[in-house]
Symmetry: C2
Subunit: 263 residues, 2 copies
Amino acid sequence: MIQELPTITFFHTLADIAGKEALRRFRSNQALEVSSKSKRGMPFDPVTEADQETERVMREHILSRYPYHAISGEELGLTGGGPIQWQLDPINGTRAFLCGLPVWGTLIGLLHNGRAKMGMMTQPFTRERFWADGKMAWRRGLNSNGMLMTRKNIPLNQAILHTNSPELIDHDAYLRFKELSKLSLMTRYGGECYAMAMLAAGHIDICVEYALKPYDIAAFIPIIEQAGGVVTTLKGERPEAGGQILAAGCARIHEQALKILNG
Amino acid sequence: MIQELPTITFFHTLADIAGKEALRRFRSNQALEVSSKSKRGMPFDPVTEADQETERVMREHILSRYPYHAISGEELGLTGGGPIQWQLDPINGTRAFLCGLPVWGTLIGLLHNGRAKMGMMTQPFTRERFWADGKMAWRRGLNSNGMLMTRKNIPLNQAILHTNSPELIDHDAYLRFKELSKLSLMTRYGGECYAMAMLAAGHIDICVEYALKPYDIAAFIPIIEQAGGVVTTLKGERPEAGGQILAAGCARIHEQALKILNG
């Protein structure tokens, strides 16, 4: 049983296939056929046919090339085992997808022995792609090919803070988030996975998320780390299991934000 | 002094010029040279060189063709007078612009005797454009040319609700917003002007905004109305002056939302 690491070329092919599948359902009537997972007592958690079909073609393509890899995905759970595990979120930002807003993305993460090593986000409508090849992080877009690098060493009062939705934050945690917000330059809501990509690209300094699943963050761990940033749980631990996640452009601002968010 | 209404072709040319000016500063270092207007005791209100330069070229182009039109813009105030008034927001969603997120837009509104009659939003990064020509509303994009039509007559518990930021909502109003949120299918934050365009396109059912200036909404009044939707203040009055604004896909859902938001 050979357990070889995939090439980044394979990630790109997988992203092409997934992006095509998701994009043809974007802003179509099919996107409206939603059901709710209603997990964890959370607000409405939509699933679309686009989520399910995109994950299906991604799994098929991975298994045709790497039949012995484990795959964990948002829609279809975990299959297989072993040291190499894919983490798939076919449409991260289903709410944005349903609203017709181009800030959703397809996320592909790869873990080796439990550590996220390679990752990719693709956004087929804006035609942007962000990835980490195991050593460095990269972007490709209409006018912006090249390396991804976080912004570093700016004072907290000049930092741009981002979170997706206040709905996902409990009362006490929200008070601490608002404290961090007050000390930062500005705060923006929404953005879904695109905000994490923009942190890696140096446009956002701090991303805080309160209810991530492993497949929501796996792709971004290597993208952010290999772009020069820091990403952990709010306890300062490795982020592969998801949960409450803090990403920052550098260690200094990560440490400052961590302190404030832990009251 | 001739006061002729502009053609929609002129709007497109103006949008081309403005979009080019804004786009070349998007995700550039120049975007970081921000200052704050700090008006109305609101949170940080960024102004970028992109806002200022884009409005400057827009004004120049309008006046070269229509020297007797009044122009009101976010950055440079009101110039001129008379029955025809342009309302310009060179970069609506400056926060999204600063975050590198492609949901900002350039807004062009046209009022005749105080009523918004024609309007356009252009997003040069996603290459989408939404407009109202005085009779109908239209879209142009990568795969989606054609008429804009709102979604109509869906039950409130299937409706998609959108607002930009919880920061702009005072405590009591936020409680009523959360009541509306609870009765809707789902709520999304962020999105800026793109959310209004997606309401006109039938992907979002209700947009509530709490602190709009006239130039934030002028372009969307005709776009939403000519796409079949309804847009008023939270008091149910004409929305041209901005303030607290409710837009909905049809009169029925507008009425239901208005009632809940007014407690």
